[in-house]
Every structure is written in C-alpha cells, then in structure tokens.
C-alpha cells in the first residue's frame, strides 16, 4: 500500500520538480550573480576584452588612425631579429629583475627578522616600514627620487660634506639603473610584512631545541629559519619578480620617458609605452606586451617547477 503510493508519487513529483529547480536556482542564485555583475562587466570589458584585442593587434600593423592591417607574425619576427632596442630593453629589465628582487627580498627578510625579535612598538614600525611600499610606485616618489640622485641632489650634498664630488647619478648610464634598483629595494614593505608573518609561524621551541644543541644564531638561521620560511620566500619571489618585470613609473619619471641615458633605464615596459604612445605602433606594442606576458609566465613556471626541490611545505 505504502510502496505503491510512493511509486506513483515519484514520477509526478519529478515532472513538477524540473521547472521549480530552475526557478529555485534563479531565486537563490540570482542575487549572487547580480552582486557579481559589476566585477564581471569589468573583468570581461576591461581585462579579457583588451587582452583578446591586443592578441589580435599583435598580428597587425595599427597606428590608431587607420584600421589594423594583418601582417601575420612579422611583428614578432622583427622583434627578435631586427630590433636592437628590444634587446636593449630586455637587458635592462633582466638586470633590474636579477638584482632588485633578491636584494629587496634579502633586505625585507633582514628587517622582518629585526622586527621579529620582540621589540616594543612593533605595530608602529611595521606601519612605518610598509609606508614606502604604498608610496613607492607613485609619481611623487619618483620625482623625489630624481631630486635625491640628481647632480645637485641630496646624495651629492651629503657627499659634499665629506668633500666627495658625486656624479649625477641619474644621468650617468653606469649608475642610473642602480638608482632605480635602490628605489625598488626601498619598497621592501610588503614582502617584509609577509616575511614577518612567516617568521611568526615558526615555533619558538625549535629554536630552543637548537640552542640546547649548541647551534649558533647563524646555524639556526640557515638550518631552521630559512628552510621553514621557503614557502614564504617562494611566494615573495614570484610576486616581486612579476612586479619587477612590470615596473614602469619610476623609470618613466626619472628618465623623462626616454629610458636614457643611452637606454640605460629603458625598461621593457617603457619601450612598450614608447612604441605604443610615442610612435603609435599599436600592433608592435601589443606584440611586445604578449612577449612580456610569455616571459613572466616562463619565469613563474620555472619557479614552480623548481619549487619542489627547495620549498619545504609542512603538513
């Protein structure tokens, strides 16, 4: 009796259920999608759309005024075979990445370790040291930097106290890139905060056990702190590498948008900017952008592949 009534009821309920399921999903999830909508429009319209467009443009010749002409891979061909400025900008960017990222990370770790020793007023120092990271990429700081390292800038005025006549750091091709590297290191705040959080995760009793074993501070750092911090180092390295590849504003301001002296501060992004907005070679600039994306992708992929040999994940 009960069985039969269940059997007969089941298909009926299913038939009715099909439309109600959809309406229920609509009722339940529509507000969610509605709230998501502004982001979704932005993501599709301002990120995905331009990306796809630029991929198309990278295979064209486009000067913004006339419609793009399909040229196939010739933009890419020219870049790799017949564009010394491309290679110059690549060299500058690589140099910048290779020196600024490790130095910045080392400096950030050093400050984080100093702050981690339980000093008074830690939140204040943390905020103060983080400040440059908020300001660093801004135009104002870049202008300030130009003043500091200029021929009559602050650095040389300080050096003059010791009777040293400093060069104009930013107009000397040997030192100009280093002023940008120093500016980048000065923005150590955000990796420092992450290092600090990572250091806090390392249990104190590991250091106690090590000190009972007679391990010096240096040995504790090398054998305990660094290995246990590798996930954080890995994260910071990837983020900072990508940031460094993308770095633009300081070089633009300090060199007045030229990448001079003698292309010594011609960052890849600066060259890209010149091609796009000085020479209106949008097709070529788009190709440059995609090569940069590929480069960053390759770097990140290599980092991830290598990580299993040096990053220690606990539990």
């Amino acid at each position: 009796m009960t069985t039969r009534s269940l059997e007969s009821a089941a298909p009926t309920r299913e038939r009715v259920a099909t439309p109600t399921v959809w309406s229920r999903i609509w009722q339940n999830d529509a507000p969610g999608y509605l709230f998501l909508l502004p982001w979704l429009i932005g993501f599709l319209g301002l990120t995905i759309g331009p990306m796809v467009t630029s991929l198309y443009l990278s295979f064209t010749d486009f000067d913004l005024l006339t419609s793009p002409d399909w040229v196939g891979a010739s933009n890419y061909m020219r870049m790799f075979t017949n564009d010394p400025k491309f290679w110059a900008s690549m060299r500058v960017t690589m140099f910048f990445v290779i020196f600024s990222v490790p130095l910045k990370l080392a400096f950030a770790l050093m400050v984080a370790m100093l702050l981690n020793r339980g000093i008074r007023g830690l939140p204040l120092y943390r905020a103060l040291f983080y400040l440059p990271s908020l300001l660093g990429a801004s135009v104002a700081i870049a202008i300030l930097w130009r003043q500091i390292f200029a021929g009559d800038g602050l650095v040389n005025k300080l050096l003059a106290v010791f009777d040293i006549a400093g060069p104009s750091w930013i107009s000397n091709p040997k030192t100009s890139l280093w002023t940008l590297i120093i500016l980048s290191i000065w923005q150590f705040g955000s990796p420092m905060i992450i290092f600090l959080a990572g250091l806090r995760q390392i249990p104190q009793d590991m250091y106690e056990a090590a000190s009972l074993d007679g391990a010096s501070r240096w040995r504790q750092f090398v054998k305990i702190t660094l290995p246990l911090l590798t996930p954080v180092v890995f994260f910071n390295a990837i983020i900072q590498t990508i940031e460094a590849f993308k770095s633009f504003t300081p070089a633009f301001i300090i060199s007045g948008g030229t990448g001079n002296p003698i292309n010594s501060t011609l960052f890849y992004t600066l060259y890209l900017y010149q091609e796009a907005f000085a020479f209106f070679r949008m097709g070529y600039a788009s190709a440059l952008a995609w090569v940069l994306l590929a480069l960053v992708g390759i770097f990140t992929a290599i980092s991830f592949l290598s990580s299993k040999y040096w990053v220690h994940y606990d539990e």
């Binding site: 106690e208 000190s211 074993d213 007679g214 054998k223 539990e315």
Partner: protein, 353 residues
Amino acid sequence: MSTPIQLRQLVKAYGDIEVIHGIDLTIDPGEFTVFVGPSGCGKSTLLRMIAGLEPITGGDLLIDGERMNDIPAARRGIAMVFQSYALYPHMNVYQNLAFGLETAKTPKPEIKERVQRAAEILQIVPLLQRKPKQLSGGQRQRVAIGRAIVREPRIFLFDEPLSNLDAELRVQMRVEIAKLHNDLGNTMIYVTHDQVEAMTMADKIVVLRSGVIEQAGAPLELYNNPKNLFVAGFIGSPKMNFLTASADGTGLKVAGNTIDVKRAVTGVATMGVRPEHITLAEGSGIKLADIRVDLVENLGGQTVVYATTTDGQPINIVLEGQRPVDLGSTVATHIDPARIHLFDAEGNVIQAG
C-alpha cells in the same frame, strides 16, 4: 654518568613579578624527579631555568657541583624533550637525530653509529628516512626522545612529553620512559600536571604551587604523609575526601558524628580520608559517617561510590571488586583511624601525636 643537581634559593622574576620564590631542592645522581602541579605553578619555568632557556634571576643552580647560572644551555650537558616534540619538519628522522651531533662537529661515522644506537633503543630504525609529518604522535615522541639520547647528555629534561598523546599511548610511553631511565641511569627531571604520571614514574616528586615547593619526597611518602591540604588533594586519584571537622578534646566531630581517632587532637578544621581507605564492612576500623549513595560506578575491578554525608558533604568511596550498592540507600562507613589525615585551619597537617 649520574649527575647531581642542586637548586639554592632559586628565584625567577619577570620585571617586578616574581614567579619562582626561592626554591631549594637537591636532586640526587641518577634520580628520576617529577615536578608536578597545576598549570601556572611554575614547574615548566623551573625546568627551563635548569635547561638554560630562561635566565635565572636569583639564587644558584649547581649541576655536578658547578654553578651553572651563567653557562649557556648548550654547555650544561642537558638534553630536553619538548611537549610539542619540536622536531624539524624539513628534516627526516635521521637528520633530526643527527642535528645536535652535527652542530657539535662530531665525526660522521660516529654520528651514524650513535643515531643507529638510539634508533635501536627506541625501535625507530625503520622510520629513519621519514619526515616528521609521516609519523604518528607516538613515533614523533620517540624521535624527540631519540634526539635527546644521541647527545649522551648528563641530564634529561622532559617538559610534559606525553600530554599530546592519547590515553593508551601515554601509558605505554610512560612505561618506556621509566625503562629508559633504568637502562641509562641518568638524572632525569620530568614535568607533568598529571599526578598519575608522577606517582608511577618518580623516585622523587616535587609538588609545586604558585612558585613554591609544597612538598618533595618519594611518591608513597607524599601519598601517606601529605604535609598540607594541597598535596593531599593533588596526590591520589580519585581525590582525597575532605570533611569539615572540629575537635573538642574528647573526640572529633565530623558529619554529625563524634568519632574517636585514638589520639589527642586540637585545632582541627578539616579531616581527610582517601576514597580507597573507606570501607562499608562493619568491624574494620571505626565508624566514620552515615552516607546516602548518589551514584555508583562499576568498573569491574573496582566500585566507585559517590555519596553525601548526612550533613550534606560530598564523599567518594572506592571499593575493591564488584559490590552491590543500592542507589539512594543510606549506609554506614568505616575507616582505620591510622588512615585519617587531620589539617588545621591553615591547611597544614596535624601530625599524629
């Protein structure tokens, strides 16, 4: 290989707040000493002062007759097993065991031999290539002990080493640590808040409260002759029963009865009787009180009776074997007068006169 330890008026203060108040203690060579007490009593702090992980504010710490106050931890000849095990997660078991020896620049072949020997003692040879995260709690515990053994220290310190293990494993490791002590013969200090661990493992128990030693002595000494209410209540499980009592010269007034404790007493405020010393059978000892049975737990080997005296004071009884006790019934209890502990208003024991 056995090393004596002496604490003389040892003091620890953090700023103005003194947490260890002048501790005097002698630990004999090869003795297994257990620091026990409730949390916050200073037992771990005291251990860490001996280890060299906490600076000593005042007094003297002597190890093998040598003043150690200002000697760094690594040079005190001490190995410590931490509550959290403190194993290095990025090193395998072998590397964890070898770390201290490598730090001390011990030759490689000797490291290998000592690690192997320690691993054999603790039966962790098959685990040597594993990382700590691949080990169970008990195995990690063994590795942590192994790390102490390989260094061949003069003194072993244990800071609540079993508190992260489940009950069964805890009993097993308790036995193994006790065996280890018998085999190695080193002086060992063991911190726990678990009085059962203290009773079962210790040669000497040091009961601490609020930074002072309440009593130190052999386990049975503390069980039989607790100096005060705190020790009486802390040592023994289930806890000793405390009944409000008063003495009027002729006898002891407790729970509405006057009982003859066969000794002259004055100034009594509390009477203590251990649950396992109370009997229901008549004729054994003197009558203690009438009680109403509230709850009975049949453990098979024991019967635990939770009851209330006629004047409303809780009292627990542990009876050997399986006893039929009716819930809600009122029964008479008896006790051997020699098993009665009497305390004054300050909680100090009144010695049998």
